[in-house]
């Protein structure tokens, strides 16, 4: 007995080709030079697999399929055309859509009349599919809501939160186990959809904005794994492989993110972020800082040989990336070597800063990740920090009592001069004071990121025309 995906040779061949194309798609994603070819391979594989599926002899009614495909396309087009700044919430939303599909199919499969009852193994995989899918639906919707700022971004924590959350998930697993042992108790099934739906909401409640890169990656992984589980239920190798690839991708990204925030592996696996955000009592007395005007900053920048710009989420919020590009152009024209140093968790999802800067037309070979740029700072004349805070905090390197001690940072304090564009002296998301601001070599540039960079650019171009 083969699964419902049938055994027609032609269909299987389209699936085989699609699988190969999907793997090529990911291989080509490794470099910006071949990446667009990767998208094409993915599209081709997808088209083949869908065309093959439509040939399936069991299909008696095409009307619903066509309507649904058209409707999905109508919804999909605007989702593909969102602003680049909205990409994190769009991504979260699409994780929810993917998980919704998997959960609905799993639910339908469970209630499908069949000649032979499902094996125990099948029921357990189906339960896993539905549990993972359901928690990803609400978890992703919550994440999207927070990123879109429809929900408060501030983490909401209470005592025993992890206990409540894990307990809830535990109940769902217990019910699932019971269902596997007593498959005739179908009335239990709605519970293993409903409980994870609630768990998904609870899981994201304690998550703050800065944890989003990890959470989005984790949800990506869950969505992939639930699709792979669906592949087991339907006996579809194509789905198992696509799900495993997506699951692996999300898993690697969340590992990267957790490493970049110095969080442990189990911390990520259980989604137990947020509770480390106990505010450190900052030094009460106001220490002296040195500040500078746009004119002074422009003079120092134009005298430099090497400048490294460190962007953070603040740049995205201020929509300053296009002004930053003007600064990049103005300095490059004067022969200054300008590069960008990008921390893995800068922004709200993996690679967020790169996309924003690429959109502003900054060449990608100037965008370097933390490991590539850190060796350059001692030879750098000016490190210009725009809207980043904790990822530049030297306390992470040399102050064991700091809550972020051990987190890998960009070594901006090794540059000859450090400039920080910042609205005021407020602490970062973790509420941790940044000793960087009190160094002798640090100049604080107080103001809005977009406005201040604009002023520097004006000074630079004014100086050039005289």
């Amino acid at each position: 007995m083969s699964g419902i995906l049938g055994s027609d040779l032609l269909i299987e061949i389209t699936y085989l080709a699609a699988t190969a194309l999907f793997i090529f798609s990911l291989i080509w994603m490794s470099s910006p030079v071949t990446a667009r070819r990767g998208v094409f391979a993915g599209e081709l594989g997808m088209a083949l697999a869908i065309a093959g599926t439509l040939l399936h002899h069991g299909i008696v009614d095409y009307k619903l399929i066509v309507i649904a495909l058209v409707l999905g396309t109508i919804i999909g087009i605007p989702l593909g055309k969102v602003q680049m700044t909205a990409v994190p919430q769009r991504t979260a939303l699409s994780h929810a859509f993917g998980a919704l599909c998997v959960t609905l199919v799993g639910t339908a499969e469970f209630y499908l009349p069949r000649e032979a009852p499902m094996s125990r193994f099948m029921i357990s995989v189906l339960c896993m599919e539905v549990i993972l899918g359901a928690l990803t639906i609400t978890g992703s919707l919550m994440a999207a809501g927070k990123l879109q700022e429809w929900l408060p971004q501030r983490p909401i924590t209470y005592k025993g939160q992890n206990f409540v959350n894990l307990g809830l998930l535990g109940v769902a697993v217990v019910v699932a186990v019971f269902l596997v042992i007593h498959p005739e108790r179908t009335q239990l099934f709605p519970a293993i959809v409903a409980i994870p739906l609630i768990f998904g909401v609870m899981m994201i409640v304690p998550i703050g904005g800065a944890d989003m890169p990890t959470v989005i990656s984790l949800l990506n992984s869950y969505a992939g794994l639930s699709a792979a589980a669906m592949g087991f239920v339907l006996n579809s190798k194509l789905l198992i492989i696509a799900g495993a690839l997506d699951g692996a991708s999300g898993f690697i990204l969340s590992m990267n993110m957790s490493k970049a925030m110095n969080r442990s592996f189990s911390n990520v696996l259980f989604g137990a972020f947020g509770q480390e955000q106990t505010t450190a009592s900052g030094g009460a007395e106001a220490k002296p800082v040195r500040s500078a005007t746009a004119e002074e900053a422009a003079a120092i920048l134009s005298a430099a040989n090497k400048v490294v710009i460190v962007p953070g989420y603040g740049m995205a919020v201020a929509q300053a990336q296009h002004k930053v590009r003007e600064l990049f152009d103005a300095l490059t024209k004067r022969g200054v070597d300008v590069k960008f140093g990008i921390h893995p968790v800068a922004g709200r999802m993996p690679g967020h800063m790169n996309v924003l800067l690429a959109e502003a037309d900054i060449p990608y070979d100037k965008l370097l990740d933390m490991d590539e740029i850190n060796g350059d700072f001692p030879q750098t004349d000016v490190a210009l920090i725009i809207g980043a805070n904790d990822v530049t905090n030297p306390a992470a390197r040399n102050e064991p009592s700091s809550p972020i001690y051990g987190m890998p940072i960009l070594d901006v304090d090794k540059a000859r001069t450090v400039m920080v564009i910042k609205r005021g002296m407020g602490a970062g998301f973790a509420g941790i004071e940044n000793p960087l601001y009190f160094l002798d070599r640090t100049l604080m540039l107080f103001g809005d990121a977009k406005g201040f960079v604009g002023n520097i650019v004006r000074e630079l171009s004014g100086g050039g025309s005289h």
Partner: protein, 98 residues
């Protein structure tokens, strides 16, 4: 049936290994488009939904299958579109200067 399951487990394991090896090599520069691409690829789940809706074995299956097609298709279309849009923006400084 037992054999099928075992084969599926082998396939899953091998695919996960390939996934780890391939994804590890992807530059952090492209992690955002990577996520939207894998998201679109993951929507291959649409094939299961198409069969559910098309076979029309029960009304419930047809309804759930249809909704599932809509949500997966929106991921396919939206995911590929935005991935390509993002990748188009990545230019090297060797390429034509604006």
């Amino acid at each position: 049936m037992k054999m099928d399951l075992l084969t599926s487990l082998y396939v899953f394991m091998l695919a996960a290994f390939i996934g780890f090896q391939v994804i590890k090599r992807i530059t952090p520069l492209l992690h955002t488009p990577l996520m939207s691409l894998t998201n679109a690829l993951d929507a291959i789940a649409v094939v299961g939904a198409i069969i559910l809706a098309g076979e029309h074995k029960t009304t419930l299956a047809a309804i759930l299958g249809t909704i599932a097609i809509v949500s997966a298709t929106s991921n396919i279309v939206g995911g590929f579109l935005i991935t390509d849009r993002m990748l188009k923006m990545f230019k090297s400084s060797g390429a034509k200067k604006a």
